[in-house]
């Protein structure tokens, strides 16, 4: 280190005073790259802009049902006020009708509040629970009726959905047909065809093959008549028609009249009392056909009104005990859940009595045998490994009874090119 000395002056004089004025090296690249990147970004956007395509501003893939024209943004993004092209209800309503939920609701959300597009290839109709919950979670504030007709606080299925209305607060099946499920489901029932074991679907079948079809109503001829036929007299194998008492009366009367006319020698016979009926004094021998018919009619009526019909129906004698009875209306509930659409077809895989488990032990007609919400929740939960439990699975927002047809008028060409 002999000769070299470092002094401030010598060090400082090595430096050119204006060195910082020109950009070199990293700062220069920094500036160039800044301009380049910004320009590239704008060029990319400009390229699309010049082609008239708002593709860069796409917020995500469209739903499956709109995929056909997913890249034709202008179909939905219609200009409302000059520059703005937000999607308004009008764009949706051009192709779809969305009837109102019901007239008294506090506010009507816009289509896109619940049906969110650009969230990926999924179903538009699969709205989230929160869409419904915006009213139903606090119905008292949102429903103009007071008090509201529905439970005021429903926000999801798992935790916050009330028990199904028929099962709440000890409601009973209003049906008047006396029926004991437990007896009928025993094994080896006596039937004209030998010992039979009845399955649920012998009586209960879906009314159609469309989704959410109701169960067909129970029909006497199909489901009951084989075992429970209306015999009215030992002389006849024919059963009485399963109709109003008056019709039955006339049928029986006619039949007896025709018989005694064909077999006049039987006028003076007296039948063995029917052991199925309560004992009564032996009637005198009929003197003529008329008396014979009367005696037989009385026996037949006893058999029918007091036994056969009474087996299932509720009869009342408003005009006295010897008059024709009035049969109470069957009142078999066709649809237990009026605000939800249950689809038995979709649940074919489940055994009937897995859900309707109470049927096996039900003895009373008044038992309500539809499954409670707990049964549904065993499969329908908000898990990944569970069945769909969102509101739309059972309920609808739109009142489809008021649906109107929409004709947007698109040509295949304009959509498909």
């Amino acid at each position: 280190m002999a000769g070299r000395t470092r002094t401030t002056k010598r060090l400082a004089q090595r430096i050119d005073l204006d060195y910082f004025k020109t950009l070199r090296g990293i700062p220069r690249w920094r500036r160039m790259l800044s301009v380049a990147f910004a320009a590239a970004g704008l060029a990319w956007l400009g390229w699309h802009g010049l082609r008239g395509s708002p593709a860069p501003y796409n917020a995500g893939p469209v739903a499956r049902s709109h995929a056909l024209f997913g890249n034709k943004c202008a179909i939905c993004h219609v200009s409302t006020a000059g520059f703005e092209k937000t999607v308004s209800d009008r764009a949706c309503l051009a192709c779809h009708d969305g009837p109102i939920h019901h007239a008294e609701q506090a506010f009507s959300p816009a289509c896109s509040d619940c049906h969110v597009e650009h969230k990926g290839v999924l179903r538009m109709a699969a709205t989230s629970d929160r869409a419904c919950a915006q009213c139903h979670a606090d119905l008292a504030a949102k429903d103009k009726n007071s008090p509201p007709r529905f439970i005021a606080d429903i926000s999801d299925f798992d935790n916050n959905h009330p028990e199904f209305a028929p099962l709440r607060s000890g409601q009973k099946d209003p049906g008047t047909i006396k029926f004991n499920h437990q007896v009928h489901l025993k094994e080896g029932l006596r039937s004209p065809k030998g010992p039979t074991t009845l399955k649920c679907d012998y009586c209960h079948q879906s009314s159609g093959s469309s989704n959410r079809a109701l169960m067909s109503p129970i029909d006497y001829e199909k489901h009951c008549a084989l075992c429970h036929s209306l015999q009215f007299d030992r002389r006849f194998t024919e059963a009485a028609p399963h109709k109003e008492p008056k019709v039955v009366y006339e049928f029986v009367s006619k039949k007896l009249t025709e018989y005694i006319a064909a077999h006049p020698d039987q006028i003076h016979t007296v039948d063995e009392p029917d052991k199925r009926l309560p004992a009564r004094p032996v009637p005198p021998i009929p003197r003529n056909a008329q008396e014979w018919i009367e005696q037989r009619m009385t026996d037949a009526q006893l058999l029918l009104w007091r036994k056969a019909c009474k087996e299932c129906h509720q009869l009342s004698y408003p005009n006295g005990p010897d008059s024709l009875p009035v049969v109470a209306k069957a009142a078999i509930t066709a649809r237990w859940l009026p605000h939800a659409a249950f689809d038995h077809e979709a649940h074919q895989l489940v055994a009937c009595n897995s859900c309707h488990s109470r049927a096996n032990t039900s003895k009373e007609t008044s038992d309500v045998l539809i499954p409670g919400i707990q049964v549904c929740r065993q499969c329908h939960r908000s898990d990944a490994n569970a069945a769909e439990a969102r509101c739309f699975e059972c309920h609808t927002y739109h009142d489809w009874s008021k649906e109107k047809r929409v004709n947007a008028g698109y040509t295949v060409h304009s959509l498909a090119e």
Binding site: R6, S34, A38, N58, A131
Partner: protein, 273 residues
């Protein structure tokens, strides 16, 4: 910094509350989403203004240090705000690009802040003979000239040499040869790795062997040349460390400019659609 933490906590609570209840899920375009978006963009703009502030350093609009701290903390706050704005989703092409740019910018900023915290110390301890980076070529030229002059005192090449070290002619020639073979090529291209001197660890050895080879009157000159080579090595080290110190800006600054520009376009276009 405290302001940032408090603001973050408040915004987090607001977001969680909102995200859970929004019917369509959290959206950038809802009122709250827009608020987050505007706040986030405003913070990004402020962060970007640091560059502008540095262009007018004399204007008394706040100390550079205050701006820098604001840049770092408020810039960090913009991260959760923008995430809240976008609902933690990437969505379409432009917004995906923006999110990526955003993450890279914030990430590079954090990395850069760490670099600028630790690397200056490395530079200070590792390069005692540091000079101004932009002037390194200029200084290197002066070092070459100095070395040439030193060599001229021995080999008597230059005509304006005033003192000549007192040695034999053949020694002079030997020195001259050594200088031309080993030292000068290194000084011309210190980073090229052409000669043995390019390896900093071997410089001492090389000069030791030169001292044994050449007569003792030349040794002071050799000492000085060794010192010059040492300085060259340090300057090379300075270049390397400097690049570490500043290279991240090549990512951070251009991308942030692109981010601000595209972000502005996004704001306009998203509201349009």
């Amino acid at each position: 910094m405290i302001v940032t933490v408090v603001a973050f906590v408040i915004c987090l609570l607001i977001y969680v509350f909102y995200a859970v209840r929004a019917p369509g899920g959290p959206r950038g375009g809802s009122a709250l989403g827009l608020t987050f978006g505007i706040a986030g963009y405003a913070l990004m703009l402020y962060a970007g203004l640091l560059g502008a502030r540095k262009q007018v350093p004399v204007w008394r609009i706040g100390r550079a240090q205050t701006w820098m701290r604001g840049h770092i903390w408020l810039g960090l706050l913009s991260l959760p705000l923008i995430l809240f704005h976008g609902g933690f989703a990437f969505r379409g092409p432009l917004t995906a690009v923006l999110m990526w740019l955003f993450f890279i910018v914030i990430g590079s900023g954090i990395v850069g802040a760490a670099i600028q915290h630790f690397v200056p110390r490395l530079m200070t301890t590792g390069v005692p003979m540091e000079t101004i980076y932009e002037e390194i070529p200029h200084v290197r030229a002066q070092l070459r000239a100095e070395a040439d002059q030193l060599a001229a005192t021995v080999s008597g090449a230059a005509s304006e040499v005033s003192t000549l070290v007192d040695i034999e002619q053949e020694d002079r020639e030997r020195f001259h040869q050594v200088y031309l073979d080993k030292v000068r090529p290194f000084l011309e291209n210190p980073d090229a790795g052409l000669t043995e001197l390019s390896d900093a660890r071997r410089t001492a050895e090389v000069f030791e062997s030169l001292r044994r080879l050449l007569a003792s009157p030349v040794h002071p000159v050799l000492d000085d040349l060794q010192n010059i080579c040492e300085e060259e090595h340090q300057l090379s080290r300075q270049v390397r460390i400097y690049r570490w110190l500043h290279a991240w800006l090549l990512v951070h600054v251009p991308l942030s400019i692109a981010l601000l520009v595209l972000g502005g376009v996004h704001a306009v276009m998203a509201l349009r659609y």
